[in-house]
Symmetry: C2
Subunit: 597 residues, 2 copies
């Protein structure tokens, strides 16, 4: 079959790119890009997670990286598509050290967006498919070591007589997904988890909790959920899945363990991590340390006058044990984001008298609407039927530079407003202070910019609209012996006060574990520099410090939702493997630190 | 694109079949079949697992089944292929109660083989893909029951205040695969397993054991192994997988439980099954009872004079604890099939002095050769790359009637002999009595006919050829205080005698659990009636009693290797679901009983 017109166009474009790059003619290469253009690279050219924006920045990146990365052999993968003036196509390529996959979008024959991602390192491919292990050693051998003996030996040696190359602090979904990838890459790794069992970080939360993201978005690497898995996983079910996954992936997962300190030896280029493992101290000496303690950092516990004289209970939302023992009690929940809504609804269901204190405006989006409008094309049964599984969806999603997201999200947000107008009107009528993000771009950008300020409605908003969850607006002034008092004098009687007041930046964990100095050296985590509330500029183009080199050698941050844990663990694992294998990994454009927290 | 010639031919054939069937014109339908023709039906027309052979038998089957099954809407699925004079194509169809999938092979425009399989029951489809459960109940409800509460309630009620519809005796791979399918079909089921943990039936075997079949053949339903899973799973690893699978599939799996008796009440149409659950008696009243205790029945423990005076240890192979405590000991292993070879090799590795007693000829095939020649086209990485996953492979494999297998297997067997000639010559030279099946058809037919008489070589044969495992040929005459004596007078000194003497028919389990009367009523299990050693005629065309209705209402047998457990559990689960749903399930051609064991 002859090539279609879009396919011809992409082939020609890739050929020109190849020849410009081979000739190291950056000017020629940059001419292939439009005025408004973006190159996003995940670890293939830059050994960084980096978006360069505009021709000048693209030129600068190419100048610095071409001679070491040696990208080449750009080949279209499948057919190109054309829609609305944009031609897009998948392509493969290789570099000096690895094989990559990319997605390019052309407008008028010039690149608008270009994604390049490292898929595997040459000579360090994951042993899968035809390269999988045999499992049995055929033949007969005296003193054969069986699989279970070898596994038991690994567990007894690693961390004691043999040092792990990587230590991951935190065994939630992030630590587990990264651990699985490092295991397949044969990088000796220990995961440190304070709970008794993998999955407990979910199990221990309030009983009605279900994932707020749908199943198609939530798969772990390598072992997708079976096709009857519920759309929204109940927390104990996802806990069981994580536990099973940890086991069958043969992760070295230390439960009942807490890292108490970590120090970097710049001469030996290694960490000393002190761990309390079920009551016994173990000292680990990894070359790389990953903080996977959740994209939320240390809990923000606000200080109000009178907290010391209040006679009831006070909890940060992360400490809330669930509603069961508060039936008939008066509860004031300070804050109006996800945790607050979930906790208020569960308390109401259990028969408590609940008041939510809204201190600032909140974005609300109905779960069904979000699934339909925001995720439907990439993460849904419909997407799967269209041949877009989660792996493909992850790359498509990654191919949209953060800078263009607002333009994509705005119409979705408008559609949401229209679709759920009655719902929003009822909430407003109940006195709820709604927003749709600083620039009306909705949930996902709020998540990326600040990781807070929203609630994905799975039922609580109806209770707010109906007045079943009582609403108070304003700032907390002080507490009395038995009430929360707002600045306008409103007195809210309380047996329990829950502070659903969010979390600090992840580098707070570095301050706790390592030192304030190192926390300040790496700076704020998460956020894009969008110059919107809680995400001060300058614009950075990528999430700060996430899954990429930081200003502290050997220190990495991993976190986010299940989608991010799955997708970005791939690129973090390849960065760690490359270092373990002794490959050269010159980092282009190491981020600067603009904010400490 | 216009249809290819083979596609046209199959479309035309299906159209003719449809019109003949719609007109209930059996003569017209049968004219579409060749003289040498086979119709294999898995539960779609016959509510049985049935192969009818030749035009006359096909006519008889259609006459009896058409008016109730009402097959219709035969549609080609994809393109037809033509190779070597045979045109084949997938098709879909429906019946009065369900939707089906089939595979037809035409020679000279007439059907040679026809496979029809039931894929789902109308109105009782598995809730998968877009029909999956939501997992969360959006909204807010007083006294909401969480997933873990609902699951705990199910576990506490089922078998006590609420009766299961199905009880499965035996929680190995067979019981687990069937349990998972029944769970998806929402049929209340309890699995009874004597061991402490799912997977223990593997874990408890000798330590070097790995699956003898490769990974592509071994997937469980719904949740395939990840693509790094070893080719031959070590026994503890498969044990862990089964345990995890049981958990995440939410099976009602009773460990430390043994069924002590079962009786059928023909009036109430239900079983009374007495179970000892971890020391406490529980009485279950299921409508259906499945024996999934393994395709091997009760161990055959041979009787020899002198067994009572022998001073060392004696074990059936199923009781052998592994080699560790026999280092430096003299061991005689009676028998020369799989178990014997595995046990002898492990004992040799551990430093025992081992003698194998070969009592009759044995088929040996090297594992690599078997993978290549016998399984490569259907179950391999190559097959996966050709678009044949295990689900597709299962149907292709099922589409070959047992009657035509010898003709297919003979050339494979010849190829094996040629390829491994040197190996076989060395074995013969060492005195090993080789065979390739009664009619030189090799391993798989021996497996189907008698489930014994072979060894898949993963190393032990080299030890036999080298004389490291000593070989003695002949029959055991008697034991002395410290030796096994053969009929030719050979005396084999022994500290341990292992009887690797195989197993009886599965209906032996029915005799133990229910009664000898019921065991005799259902008769022998397994085997085809091939009139070869240990598989007496008459020809039955299907495995006796497996996965299909038996002469005892409400009693079913399930077993076999992982491939069979996966594939046939589908058809057994649909038969059970149909009965639970109260659908009419007229069984065509219920098997007759020709042999008691």
């Amino acid at each position: 079959m002859p090539d279609s017109k879009p396919t011809k166009a992409v082939k020609a474009w890739l050929k020109k790119l190849e020849s410009a790059i081979t000739e190291k003619d950056v000017d020629k290469a940059v001419k292939l890009f439009g005025k408004d253009s973006y190159w996003r690279d995940l670890v293939s050219l830059t050994w960084n997670i980096k978006t360069v924006e505009g021709k000048e920045a693209i030129a600068a990146m190419l100048k610095k990286t071409l001679s070491s990365a040696k990208p080449r052999n750009f080949q279209i993968d499948g057919e190109a598509n054309e829609a609305g003036g944009v031609t897009d196509a998948w392509f493969t390529f290789e570099t000096a050290t690895g094989r990559g996959k990319g997605l390019v979008r052309l407008i008028d024959g010039k690149a608008w967006t270009m994604l390049t991602t490292l898929q595997e390192l040459k000579g360090h491919e994951e042993p899968k498919g035809e390269h999988r292990p045999m499992g049995v050693q055929h033949g007969a051998f005296k003193e054969r070591e069986s699989w279970s003996e070898a596994r038991a030996r690994e567990e007894s040696e690693l961390g004691y007589t043999r040092q792990p190359y990587v230590v991951i602090i935190g065994g939630g979904q992030g630590g587990i997904a990264l651990g699985a990838r490092l295991k397949r890459l044969n990088v000796p790794t220990i995961i440190i988890e304070k709970n008794d069992r993998p999955g407990d970080s979910w199990r221990k939360r309030y009983k009605s909790l279900c994932l707020h993201d749908p199943v198609w978005y939530d798969h772990l690497p390598y072992l997708p959920f079976p096709d009857h898995w519920p759309v929204f996983s109940p927390k104990d079910k996802i806990g069981d899945w994580l536990e099973m996954y940890t086991k069958v992936m043969e992760l070295n997962y230390w439960t009942k363990s807490e890292a108490t300190s970590a120090t970097w030896d710049d001469k030996a280029k290694e960490w000393t991590v002190k761990v309390n493992r079920d009551g016994k101290q173990v000292v680990l000496k990894p070359k790389q340390l990953v903080l996977a303690t959740g994209m939320s950092g240390v809990p923000n516990m606000p200080k109000f006058p009178g907290q010391d004289i209040f006679k009831g209970e006070q909890q940060h939302s992360s400490q809330h044990p669930g509603p069961d023992k508060y039936k008939g009690k008066k509860v004031v929940v300070v804050g109006s984001n996800n945790s607050s809504h979930d906790i208020c609804a569960a308390l109401w269901e259990a028969g408590a008298d609940v008041t939510m204190v809204q201190r600032s405006s909140t974005h609300i989006v109905k779960s069904d609407t979000l699934m339909d409008i925001a995720l439907g094309d990439l993460y849904s049964e419909k997407a799967v039927k269209n041949g877009i599984d989660h792996n493909k969806a992850d790359l498509i999603f990654a191919s949209l530079p953060y800078a263009v997201l607002p333009a994509i999200m705005k119409p979705q947000c408008e559609e949401t407003k229209k679709r759920d107008k009655k719902f929003y009107d009822r909430l407003k009528k109940a006195g709820f202070d709604l927003d749709f993000g600083a620039d009306d771009t909705g949930l996902f950008l709020k998540y990326l910019r600040r990781g807070s300020g929203y609630y994905i409605d799975v039922g609580a908003s109806e209770l707010v609209a109906d007045g079943k969850i009582k609403l108070a607006r304003g700032q907390v002034d002080h507490l009395t012996e038995n009430a929360v008092v707002l600045t306008d004098g409103t007195e809210l009687p309380a047996d329990l006060v829950v502070y659903a007041t969010g979390y600090g930046s992840m580098n707070g964990w570095a301050a706790k574990l390592i030192s304030q100095e190192v926390a300040d050296k790496v700076g704020k985590c998460w956020g894009l520099g969008s110059d919107t509330p809680k995400d001060p500029g300058p614009w950075e183009g990528e999430l700060r410090n996430m899954w990429k080199p930081t200003q502290q050698e050997g220190l990495w941050f991993h976190g986010g939702n299940l989608h991010q844990s799955r997708h970005y663990s791939q690129f973090l694992s390849l960065q760690l493997k490359a270092r373990e294998a002794g490959l050269k990994t010159p980092v282009y454009g190491l981020q600067k630190v603009h904010h400490l927290s």
